[in-house]
Amino acid sequence: MFEVLQYEFMRNALLAGLLVSIACGIIGSLVVVNRIVFISGGIAHASYGGIGLAFFAGFSPYLGAAMAALISALIMGIVSRGKKHRTDTVIGVIWAVGMSAGIVLIDLTPGYNVDLMSYLFGSILMVPMYSLWAMAGMNLVIFLLIFLFYKDFLAMSFDEEFALAMGVPVGPLYFLLLTMVAITVVMTIQVVGLILVIALLTIPSYLAEKYTTSLKAMMTWALILSIVFTQSGIWLSYYLNLSTGAVIVLVAAVFFCISGLIPKNVLSGQS
């Protein structure tokens, strides 16, 4: 079973799955409790515009994705903080426009680009070493920010107005959270692709929330579950010769369905 580990691509894939799981567990938990799943989906899809621009202008697609993700996160943050009506509609529009811009820009790029699909559905078996270092760096930043502002993020997520009254800088923290979502999305695109990012952000966190009694525990268990899903998904896809990103999501979905059968009280020990 382990002879496959002699291949660098497999070692890198497993390591990438592990690194992405750390970010997805921590940030996914905040995405779920703050109910910004739709915004996160918007950021993921709008980042495709940046990938298109990168191909068209000839620079790194992940740099393009990061730029587009950060810009769309900023716009969606302004729109959703503005308390104007139809916030969800505006997010939906940015979602579609970003994606369309990406497709048109790639149409305009001379020559047919074969690995287009890898950005939509992930390319975990082709993660280079420098990407792993970048992921590790981004994880470190996310971990530090959450460590520093944990109680403030918790207060904001639980009762935003009370947090404001207590002097917590809710506005800046919200934009910081969206920035971290954008970073996480760009990392995760390499593993499961931008269409499936939302599954890794939400399924482990949803499962963890059901059986824990604190945000900290929720983040920890989401991280652990995410590791389980990515690692088992990578092995399964290797042996079954199927697309890795999709198999990871389906493994998560199996756990999601099983959890529907296990009531909340069983594990948290409360009535």
Binding site: L148, E161, M166, T213
Partner: protein, 253 residues
């Protein structure tokens, strides 16, 4: 007693082009027990949220404890009107109450054991210390409200703002809450409470503010045996279930 803790000068506030508050002036002295009355949509909650620094305002001057709203967080307690707690949010009672210490801590600091012991003390004041390890989502509406009251007390506030604190509370705790507010007021705390419940007036309130876009203030000199009469001069609809049912609609001037 005479130190001014809240000062509002010519405050106006509108939301989406709709005027909520107009030319509001109010001075609250230290040790006051102010009841804020008025019809739904009259601007009571908006006024409190401005004082707490939750809503930014552009017209007028507001100071709380000689600072701009929101800059005296560690000296202020706040009980919001029935917040919608997600049925799933993973947090226990003590971790909710300790959030009342946020104003003291500022950023980059963790809660210490003394923060937790103050939180526990506050829980005892509302008879909820037995529930400290329960998930907040497993509590009844009345129990949650008590926890939120404990949260506001955890910082030993100089001014306590309560927005309809009796809205979802069970009857036995009702009078206990008023007793608690009375004790806190006796101990020198300033209390500002929004309420539909007139019994709070007859028992404890030292002054009354009627808010219906404009604000009409009735201070302690006006409030004595004839207090209720004064209150009923406000242009608001008041319905009370007491020995005598009231329903009065009169106008100022």
């Amino acid at each position: 007693m005479n130190k001014k803790v809240i000062e509002i000068r010519d405050l106006s506030f509108s939301y989406n082009g709709h005027t909520v508050l107009e030319n509001v002036n109010l001075t609250v002295s230290s040790g006051d027990f102010l009841a804020v009355l008025g019809p739904n949509g009259g601007g009571k909650t908006t006024l409190i949220k401005i004082l707490l620094g939750i809503l930014p305002f552009t017209k007028g001057k507001v100071s709380v404890l000689d600072r701009k709203p929101g800059n005296a967080a560690h000296r202020i307690g706040y009980v919001p009107q029935n917040i919608a707690i997600s049925d799933k949010f993973p947090i226990n009672v003590l971790d909710v109450v300790v959030m009342g210490r946020l104003g003291f801590l500022g950023r980059f600091k963790k809660y210490t054991s003394s923060d937790y012991s103050m939180a526990l003390q506050a829980l005892k004041q509302v008879d909820m210390s037995d529930y400290r390890n329960h998930l907040i989502s497993n509590l009844s509406g009345g129990q949650r409200q008590r926890v939120l009251i404990a949260r506001s007390l955890a910082c030993d506030p100089e001014i306590l703002f309560l927005d309809e604190p009796t809205a979802s509370i069970d009857q036995p705790f009702h009078s206990k809450l008023y007793e608690l507010l009375f004790e806190l007021n006796q101990a020198g705390k300033t209390i500002v409470v929004i309420s539909h419940d007139l019994s709070i007036l007859s028992i404890h309130a030292k002054s009354v503010a009627c808010v219906n876009t404009n604000l009409y203030f009735h201070d302690s000199s006006e409030i004595g045996p004839e207090m209720l009469e004064k209150v009923y001069n406000c242009p608001v609809e008041l319905v009370a279930h007491g020995p005598v049912p009231h329903r009065v609609l009169k106008h100022h001037n």
